[in-house]
Subunit: 366 residues, 4 copies
């Protein structure tokens, strides 16, 4: 079977690089088009990323290194690639103003090119699904309504949530799915610097230091789960109103891997600690059933050691696509405490995006 040609927008940035790295040996997809800002456009990909390659997923393929980088703002270049059969859809890892990204992603979709995006621009667009493949795979079913409303034929937009929530969102969902309502929670994140891209966080802020603030991150952490847990009604995704979430987001001197310390309150029905562990260990969802290439075999890994998960030791679990949880214990204030960890640029960004693409391919949207 011939591989599906894909394009990567924002291909030279941190998440773009990770897409390139992870797609290097993908069984279904193959990067044939790479676009970035005008600054990189016209250069060979290998020259555009020289001195700033930071993807944990490994190196880029030789062939990709030789691609001439397109200008992501110039839709006609992507359209030409599309027409030439070099780009059936694009992964968007664009880094520019929200409004520009929103308009640009719509333009691509309008030109018939599906957009699977990491950017936050369309996360709150009512007819755009914000997908975690194991949590709300059914939200892809809004795409027909999206296309119809906008008069798009083959194009569509699907997005991912913020990387900061990936370390606890699937565990929360597994509990909810098992019948345990979650009323509210506090979460403190210790986030890796790769989440800020390159050059990103200055080393003067990360040697012998932490920074207890990441712009916009707490708001995203508190609100995005509500849409992800929502349901489709009349061509829009309606958010739920619970759990109430309060987030403290910190930047720490870690390359990759976001850690989250969570305290949560259940509704009247409360599982035991053992039940929680059983629910998480046995949790599987559609990507596992379909055995999608990027899907972790076990989406949630429970560690029993009292000092795990740790970023350097657990972020790469199951192709860096699993969420590792540990320190599962009762909470003095609420019901349950735990620590969750996931790889922010793989599970939380490019890897999650690829898994979404695999899901969308399976569902026939690409």
């Amino acid at each position: 079977m011939a591989k599906i040609p894909v394009g990567v927008l924002g291909a030279t940035g941190m998440v773009g690089q990770q897409y390139i790295a992870l797609l290097a040996n993908h069984p279904w997809f193959e990067v044939k088009y790479a676009a970035a800002s005008p600054r990189s456009a016209g250069k060979k990909y290998k020259d555009a990323v020289a001195g700033r390659w930071n993807a944990s997923g490994g190196d880029y393929q030789k062939e990709v290194g030789e691609l001439i980088v397109g200008d992501a703002n110039d839709l006609s270049q992507a359209a030409a690639a599309f027409k030439a059969g070099n780009c059936a859809f694009v992964f968007s890892a664009l880094e520019m103003g929200k409004d520009e990204i929103r308009a640009l992603e719509e333009a691509y979709a309008g030109a018939g090119i599906p957009v699977i995006s990491n950017a936050s621009a369309h996360r709150w667009t009512a007819d755009v699904p914000m997908l975690i493949a194991e949590v709300n795979p059914d939200h892809v079913d809004i795409i027909p309504a999206q296309r119809k409303k906008r008069g798009w034929d083959k194009g569509f937009i699907a997005v991912k949530p913020n990387c900061s929530i990936q370390s606890y969102m699937t565990p929360l969902y597994a509990l909810i799915k098992a019948g345990y309502e979650i009323k509210r929670l506090t979460v403190t994140t210790l986030q890796a610097v790769s989440g800020a891209g390159y050059p990103g966080v200055p080393s003067l802020d990360m040697i012998d230091n932490i920074v207890p603030y990441i712009g916009g991150e707490e708001e995203k952490s508190e609100q995005e789960p509500l849409k992800i847990l929502g349901s489709i009604k009349d061509g829009a995704i309606i958010s739920v109103t619970e759990p109430k979430i309060s987030a403290h987001c910190n930047r720490v001197p870690v390359v990759d891997g976001h850690t989250a310390c969570v305290s949560l309150e259940f509704g009247p029905k409360k599982p035991s600690i053992d039940e929680v562990k059983k629910i998480w260990t046995s949790f599987k969802s559609l990507p596992q059933e379909l055995d999608l290439p990027m899907a972790p075999k076990q989406p949630i890994i429970v560690r029993e050691e009292n000092d795990r998960p740790q970023p350097r030791k657990d972020r790469d679990a199951d192709k860096a696509m699993a969420v590792t949880v540990g320190r599962i214990r009762p909470c003095n204030v609420f019901d349950l405490r735990f620590v969750g960890l996931s790889h922010n640029t793989v599970r939380g960004a490019a890897g999650g995006g690829i898994l979404n693409a695999e899901l969308l391919k399976h569902k026939g949207y690409i």
Copy 2:
């Protein structure tokens, strides 16, 4: 005025070193006796700490470097120093088994030598005050009962709480004192490696990593505040039962300075964010009124920048004795969120111990 001669037990460990460093130019006290484990005993102090001096407070005094280290287990050596007028009281920074410390500190007190301790051994002894000089200075008044009950004449034991709570305990107290009851709170700490002593945390655990666990630390963080906020009754300190506290304690790659992310719930009466800031900025207590040498002028410093406090930039505020708070904002789940920071081996250990000694001196107990 001649300075009061003091001894330091556990003088070669991390906290012991910090005592030595901070007492280098103290206006009231002067180190004349240093004791440690048998391994160091008999050596010159400077030789005993060679290659392992890590005090942030600066270097030791030449004279202290020349002291012959005593054996802390050998009470007769301290008694001799006491008799020779070289040790009016001791700071205990002992690092050994809890039971041994408990017994040893009692033996010193029984021998007439007041013990001002950093160790956790006596924190839950009902007639031993666990002091933060700005929060519960009146707990020193239990000393007469302690002496009477135990048949001690001049000796007594007073202790400090754990370093992990110092970054938020004074702010909590300031709010309570201003009339705002606190019902419960979740706190996530990001703690510096100096808290684990030397050699302490292996660098393999702290490069590109964090460790979401510190043995015993969460229990201390949850329980010690309850005694500190308690009151004396019938020769014992009776703990309060609120606030309920749930703690997540993490080790992060920071040399000095513990950061705490706090979400708290008030009772029915709730201050505005502005009131909170005003309460904290204007908070003073007995050490400030008495202008004790080690007391920070302003115990709680409020920073308005959205990315402060940060360990490297704020830990040294006001001789490393102030608590710096920032990111004061409403909480989605409870009422108030903030980040607190203090220097763990100064405010949270040796500096706090010295301030306690100054208070006890003022009150006439030493």
Copy 3:
């Protein structure tokens, strides 16, 4: 073909773990016996390494996790494993006193169990080869003399040099082999903390700091190359006397990967910079010709970017077995300057040991 069963001595230490990790899917060898200190002996391997697993090469195999750890000091346990067909030879990553290791390794060899060692104990034993498979594979030919002299039948001892020299030794050799005599060199190393094992270097020494000293490392760096470049004569390896080497060894906050800054002086015949690059890029040796499983395809990788090699970005090149060199330029004082880098616990330790075993297998010694 059935795999050859191997034992690992010192299996729970840093290098021992790396052996276990790297042998997980080895085509020829399979770990069937693991021994360590009495402290670990009797435990399951997974329990013995719980909380201290740090191998960069990945996780241990499930089957190895279930092995009951033997006591490395108890030769009879290894002998039983040998007899039971579970241990055709051992990798020694012992961490104990030099004299004990020397005696123990000889005892194993005397019992008919070949010892392929990482320890420094036998590096200067005249009839023991100190191997870098690409540099002095012919030194294995001393084994018959070693066996004969010691009255050993099947057993023998072969060792590896220190990890600090692996980042420049193969590049030096490639130049020498190409006909360019090297008279002397200065080398400054920036060495990773994994080289010191676990717990190893305290984090208090590695946050916002470097340590310009590693005990014994400079001597090894200066002397070991002379034996490696030596030749066999009358059953002993005779060292060369040049190049003269002056080493400065530093510990830096890097997990894995030793960097070396080298300035060297050629003899009268001096290659151009371009020739140097060509020699290094085209260098292959016996392991490549034999296509041994652990051999890097290209032992020396030349990077042209001016800021490479870097530990995090280059240490894993070609299964972490390649040496990456960069900044190849003339020297103001000598003739040539460059920076070399290799993975200290793979190329410089366990991986290099496995490659030596592959070579010895090929040569029929195991």
Copy 4:
């Protein structure tokens, strides 16, 4: 005595901040004028540095925080400050193109405002002294010739060398002054990130990593010592031709403090290791004789421990103005090996500049 009012150009950058911090309680000088790029001009100083204050020397003075930042490119603003008696001379910590700095510094000098500069623009101008106050204080005597040639009345330009050479230049000079010619040396530096300013080095390059390259730094390290050791002839400073220097410059994850590993060759006359230590320990120069406020009491501190100097532990020695040396030992290839360390933004930048100003004041040039 009224303090001399001074201006700081580039006052918001890393070195400019350090000037502000170190001048906070200076006995002779007082900052009355601060200028920076147009981006900061017009703001209060405290607002211009909010979120980017990184000076190790402490906080800025309240009064300086309230200064309105001038535009450093607009000479008329400085001239007005000069006229108003708020700026007797300027410290230049400008960060812009070399040609612009060169022209701007000349314009200030031409307007009668002496310029004491950290920038590299005028380091190779033949009539501009490049000063290390302990090494070549007599180079200030070129100022009359400089003024005459350029037709300047009171203005002049004096500069500092690069921060990377400060960790070994004074030790080298002390040996030369004691009669020991130095023929050549290799030096490998491990340089702190503060040397690159803020934001400077990305944290992605400094977590679990080092970078073996700093643009332009090796050239400066090799050439600047030759001018500093030179002598004045016919209104120009004539460089010496020895020692030949070969430098490897590395960036390491250290906040402040450059470490240098040096191997050097003496001329025919060679001191013993003990003599070297004695020369360094007893070295004093003009700043010490004059007891200048910023001068370290002992410019070179010799540490005997085998693991010192270390950046975090030694950089602050003697107001961060001393050079600490250690590991003094024979060299296998040359004659002498040692490790030198100094604080790059104090001794190597702002502190060194202030000391130069003190010297120039003493000599009557300001």
